[in-house]
Point group: C3
């Protein structure tokens, strides 16, 4: 991948969602907006999200006059624009006249007009309305000098149970399975007599109908990913028909569970996402930055490492959580630079200015109801704008990761739906983060990928709970290890195929060879229950007592070597962690949800063995360290997420991009401080 | 306001809901009822609630014979009657034949027959049935010597989503806003493209439709207040057409959230309400009496101080809570006299006799299933009847309050719906009660009012969290302070206008002048989080460390003087409490939810300054003290809500109305004891 | 009752649910099944549950070829069969073509196809389809040498709100009450004007309609018991029309609340049930065995002591609980022998082999996905099969109990629905188990019966919370005590009749004479609240302080003698436990939910007085001891449910049936160990 800034310019873009259509009666405010944008060093705005009522106030009657002025004014001020298609919400007149544009819920009742992100993805009428308005927008603005990309719809999500969607689902299944016999076998539908004898008999999963055919549930999620992609593609095709060169994105969401983004990302040109971390909520100050960091790493890898756009975030607080906590001083800067550290070329916010009314009027914004930037938040926004303006050379740089963590969306769907062994919550994401956390604390770059991604470019692949083995994943794992890679697996791996059929003949199924174990059964512990685990020093390099929790696979080491044993309960003495030498590589299996201490030690020993180390040793609590690089330089991002000042030791001399001058050896970090350092390559 | 007993007689009425229609097959029980009423000193019964099936057993076929006998029998026994219109529940035949009398729920499905209080307020059929039965009742009983008032329907509540109600809602909006442009601006409906282009497009808020246009939600609540009032007025007009002199009431409920009672009370002649405090449930023995006291003070002020009727309460326990706790000995008497202390001229119960079957058969009553009054509860009921018979001169006396607390129903709706800053619960009522509690513990009379009420008659007005500024409220606050009043405001005040549009230019919006501060932003604390606050001795007269919780406004004192400062978190050093000298008065602003200790000290210093004091100093824990007065006397009500005996010191000599004789200096209070003392004026 | 093995053979049957229809594509697995069944000593399989799609793949097209082979193959292997009718789930084509076979839910919407156990019990179409397939099955297999009984449908449950069911309900009420006047009186429907004036007006209870007429709610439950029985009888009649000698069962469930099994059991030939205890979940190791033991005792008494079938259980874990905990080593054996100890002649499991897919693929089975029995669970299954094969003579033996505990399903419905005195949960089952626990710890056999059962054969009857007095129960209690029996009653007894109408004239209503007390009122304690109770040594034989919780009846001893008094709260000094000498017997009344210590002492003193003792004294914690007997021998079952090894002292010499040889005096019990000992009579 070349080192190319996303939008051709060597700058980190800085801006927000901008909704001037709400303020057309307040011309003085629109004037003030431009003045304040300049003051805050803003150079990009997302315009037109939810503007349909203003663009097409009556059916077929378009009004672009206000938007003409807005775009021209922004252009004059040097502010670029992501122009949104307005399909995230529809005008009231449309729902009223054509109720079929609205979604039918799981309870089989059609929604009434309201909210947003709830159109039917199949509706030909909605698609036609969308095509028309998108075409008008594209014709008028595709070549506008301010516009650098399309923001397709908004936070696409969900599913619809209307007859059209049901029919599309049946077509999708027919295409996939060809015959009902194939489908019935794949669905194991003989169970409870659920055999289908005609395609018409298949309804989507529904609370008042069928919820227990897990392969059907999985296919419904896959279908809805593709149906939403199809809708999005319909919009992309529409706007690209006018100007094929303007890139398109669709803003993604936090560990989003409705769709498989690794699939979804194929139809967009660049990834963008809306990130709202829960800063300052948890006593554990590492929890939120780690949770967010892994999400950033996922976003980057949806497009295989390409820089991406932080499309939404808040400068102060959200208004839709239980508690609307403010970001403490410098937290907004730290959060923004965290995104850049993980590959973002843009830092954008929802929203430019707080609306006067309706449901998000108390959501944080650049400009508060007071109307100026001489506020605590405003001053930090201006300062941040200034800082970002110094980071132009970072744009287009990439992240080099030798370690990957596998977090697979289809696997996540399957695990959560499978009924057993822990219906209280399988904690797939939490277990992945146990390992991610150990890597983060080492200051090591990580790629978050899924089972479809290329493994061969990594030294270490950590893949907890790969319950579902998709496609040729197991083969690729074998090759990866054979060729010298280190693979880390865990309990609840290698259980089912892609239609949730269990592997026969012993778990971990197709991973049995590479892992060298047999997983006989799995014990689920109560929420407050733990088991003791004793590591074997000679094998693992460390010796101590640890705790396992959540789930305990009861395994038999076959070819594998035992590294740690259970030391309590009826399975005392059985293997708790193993390693298998396979080809030139090694494959680990961790049989329980081990405590942080164990995972940190295990990860450290693996990194040591592979010679992987971060740029700073012995990172203090809640201090992060990540790098980007291009053909000339490496950029080192250091951030302190704790409320305590600390020092770290640099191993080399760096240029301090934000503050000027050079730094070396000791670097002092005030609470929530962040640094961007550069060294030449 | 003149000192007029509500029903012309110098007596505190004592009685219950009476449902003889349930016992027509048991003539011996009906006889026994009269005997027991006399024994218990009862002199009023509410009759006819839910009797429609017995009054009109088939459509158009009326049977009043049983009611004739009941009313005559009561009259002979000297028992007066509130005669109910039966519209609180309808006969099954009516629902069956005319399903349109039933309500359509938020899920857009029409209710089936069942329950009660669930008719459609718009239904012409229901109104016509109601008109007919009410007319029959009025013709037959309007001049019956026992009947002294109308009890209209029962506990009117809720809303309906049927087409008729929707049409009425649209008419109501049309009348209010005249044009859709006005409505769209007031609703800020450009947000999420919710602009309305025809009146027909506007649906009431609904879970399956629109819930996020807060001004629409507010208008729906206002409309339903007025629609229910219109239904109630329809009944009042019907019965008054026969005898315009018989006063009407509609029984209100505890801190009721469906309707705005300050508006509702306009159409009734006197206020009555159904009070079911949770006695003995909380370890904090002050919680329930204080919560109930403020509700009594609200009820009195719905009719601007006029005496009112305790329409329902229970002599022993309810049957619809999680736990049905019994009132301990003397608690029933104490609770009854609390109502009288706060202005009640009647003490009535649900119910006279426990029903044999159906859903309230285990709700407390005068007469238990055992059928006599020789029970623990029965003996106390007789004793209470005897006590109330000694308080005839209290009837018609008023409450003199120099302090008012503002608890505004429209503001409450708006705060709870606004999304942010604390969706876990904004605690408007709780914060108002923080201040009410400090006043209650001082033994000071308080009026609970809303933003529409006259402020000029008070010395002190405490108005926490006036998020929504209604009409000319801010102007009236300015005048009040200018003229020497002391006003206490808090965080989350002066944020929006009546359609929930934020004030631009800085909070607290129109209260900025009088408060002399700028409220820049607001921090929400987690449930277990607090901040330190340091009072400034020289300014406030006391010096200590306190705690703030819940929400912290981060304010700038402009004209105001700082009285206390935050002493932790990133806003350490910022003002936590201010006072602004404005005209002849003072306006306080308390920026966080301060602990009891702080509020008690602040309130004490304000009362001291204004020379307001209660009749007893140093009230022990959970002891109340309130007064009523007329042209001749002051009546002092003292009650001990704790399980511990205590003494209080009287400052003067009083006549002991319940026990005879005089008391002065030390007054001993057994657990749950109550006294009514009198002194001449 | 004669000592007859259920199926004529002197053997404890051992087997599982077997679903070969899921594996027809895997002939090698079907072969392997037979081999493994032999290995595990299995001799019975339940076949055909949920096989409808395979038996009738299209409407009217039957395919029995696969089942022919399965039954023949089982027969050849010496494995008997319970043949199921397939009505527990229907083919998709049927739901699709005839949606009326599906149930209408409480929300008045008809289910879509999916799940199981959700057909309409009234649907003539479903009954006709069932009749046809059942007839085909009966014709083909009624005389098959492998088939020893019918397994009718599966886990029959629930209710339906379709027009047909509503019409049937109305007919049922009409038959019961004859006139609407009778019904209205029985329902106390004057309350809230709910009087019915035509049968058509009566709808079943529904959330969107009527839920507050408790007698209607009760009748709806009674009706649904009978409607389900009628459906089940329809199936029984169908199969018995072909071979009237093949016995039928319907598998029951854990403390099932939908139907009254004492009534239901009348139509089946033998009882079977599905038992899934929560082993190893609670820190209190006695909780689960005691809870399960009483359920076994109920099952046995549904057919008045006749041996019964453990139809389903799991060898390892379930997959539908929050946590799927494994059974620890020997727990499966212990659980199986517990069932036998309480009267089971069969030990069967769900399921023979784990399905590859769908919602129960992770439910424990004889054969795991690995496909062999060389697993921890498999080895114990083989060992258990071997053990059971040594217990042939136990088959047909009975349980002799001198103590009965009354747990009445109609009473349970009524208590839970009555609204008050503790809507947080009346804990009827828990309170019954307080007493059952004391008996279990004494190693005394107990019958669990209901109010309709014969009391005369017991020495002691313990009947807590008999809120509803059904039929002549009170008279039979009087006779029982008069004739020398000891009866134990508690708070919340003798309150209502069978249509939930309260007894007038004083509680405990018709039990007042025999108990000799008046129950004036009842106090409900908060969850964390207790009262002190002081026993009176001279009366009760022990003297100490105890605690009452939950509910406290405030009673007056009339003829009864006071045994313990409340020692706190306002009712300090009132009677907390009484005994009444009545005829030759005694009637106890325990006024509160007393602590374990009190109940153990009270029960011990009663057992002492009646000379009832178990075969082992001083049982250690969590060790059980129960007996069966026949004309020749007594079988003693001892089990250790704790994780600690203990010893018990035998009083006699026994033959050790499982291990061979004799044992006497000290018997050592490893954790989860179980013994079956025999002595001659």
């Amino acid at each position: 991948m070349a080192f190319e800034p996303l939008f051709g310019e060597n700058k980190i873009f800085y801006g927000a969602d901008y909704n001037p259509e709400q303020w057309l009666d307040y011309p003085e405010i629109l004037e003030k907006d431009i003045e304040l944008m300049k003051k805050a060093h803003c150079n990009i705005m997302s315009v037109g999200i939810f503007s349909w009522s203003k663009l097409e106030p009556q059916e077929g009657v378009y009004d672009f006059s206000w938007l003409d002025k807005v775009l021209d004014r922004l252009n004059e001020a040097g502010v670029k624009v992501f122009l949104a298609t307005p399909s995230g919400a529809r005008p009231t007149w449309m729902s009223h006249k054509y109720p079929e544009v609205l979604r039918v819920w799981d309870n089989q009742m059609r929604a009434m007009h309201g909210g947003r992100h709830n159109h039917c993805n199949s509706s030909p009428i909605y698609r036609e309305f969308t095509r028309k308005i998108d075409t008008e927008l594209a014709k008028r603005y595709s070549n506008h000098p301010a516009v650098i990309g399309w923001h397709i719809s908004n936070e696409l999500q969900g599913s619809c149970h209307c007859p059209l969607c049901k029919a599309n689902f049946r077509k999708w299944m027919q295409k996939k399975y060809q015959t009902l016999e194939n489908l019935n076998k794949a669905y194991w539908s003989t169970f409870w007599s659920h055999t289908y004898t005609s395609w018409e008999e298949i309804d989507p999963p529904a609370t008042m109908g069928e919820m227990g055919v897990h392969a059907l549930n999985l296919d419904w999620k896959r279908f809805n990913t593709e149906l939403s992609m199809d809708f999005c593609k319909h919009e992309i095709d529409t706007v690209k028909a006018v100007n094929p060169n303007l890139p398109c994105t669709a803003n993604f969401m936090e560990y989003f569970n409705d769709y498989d983004y690794f699939n979804y990302a194929k139809i967009i040109d660049f990834v963008s996402w809306d990130s709202y971390p829960e800063w300052h909520v948890y006593k554990d100050q590492e929890r939120t930055p780690i949770y967010t960091a892994m999400n950033h790493d996922l976003m980057r890898n949806y497009k295989h490492g390409k820089p991406w756009v932080l499309m939404e975030s808040t400068p102060t607080c959200t208004n839709w959580r239980g508690t609307s906590k403010l970001k403490k001083p410098q937290m907004n800067t730290l959060g923004a630079l965290q995104a850049v550290a993980h590959g973002a070329d843009n830092v954008q916010y929802f929203q430019w200015r707080k609306s006067r009314g309706s449901s998000e009027k108390f959501h944080g914004a650049f400009v508060d109801h007071v109307g100026h930037l001489d506020t605590r938040a405003g001053r930090e926004e201006i300062e941040l704008g200034n800082k970002l303006s110094k980071l132009g050379e970072v744009a287009g740089s990439l992240v080099n990761a030798k370690v990957a963590i596998v977090f697979d969306q289809e696997n996540r769907w399957a695990i959560d739906d499978a009924q057993g062994p822990c219906n209280n919550g399988m904690k797939y994401l939490e277990v992945c983060q146990d390992y991610y956390k150990a890597l983060w604390k080492k200051g090591v770059n990580v790629d978050a990928i899924d089972e479809t991604c290329d493994l061969s470019k990594y030294d270490v692949v950590i893949a907890p709970m790969t319950y579902m083995i998709r496609g040729d994943y197991a083969k690729r794992v074998e090759e990866f290890v054979k060729n010298g890679g280190t693979y880390v697996s865990s309990f609840w791996s290698g259980i089912v195929n892609e239609t949730d059929l269990c592997f026969l003949g012993g778990f971990p199924g197709p991973l049995s060879n590479v892992l060298g174990i047999w997983d006989e059964e799995i014990e689920c512990l109560e929420e407050d229950e733990t088991v003791k685990v004793q590591s074997l020093c000679d094998a693992l390099g460390f010796n101590s007592c640890f705790e396992g929790s959540h789930l305990c696979a009861l395994i038999h080491a076959k070819e594998a070597q035992v590294l740690a044993k259970y030391d309590s309960d009826f399975f005392k003495g059985m293997a708790a962690t193993t390693v298998n030498n396979y080809g030139k590589g090694k494959a680990y299996y961790v049989a329980s949800r081990m405590d942080d201490n164990f995972i940190e030690k295990l990860v450290a020993s693996i990194l040591d063995e592979k010679g992987i180390k971060g740029p700073i040793d012995n990172l203090p609590l809640a201090v992060s360290c990540h790098t980007r690089y291009n053909d000339k330089s490496e950029f080192l991002f250091v951030g302190n997420y704790s409320d305590t000042a600390v020092d770290v030791m640099l191993k080399e001399t760096y240029e301090d991009l934000l503050n000027g001058g050079n730094v070396s050896s000791q670097l002092h970090l005030e609470p929530y401080a962040s640094y961007v350092l550069k060294k030449d390559l």
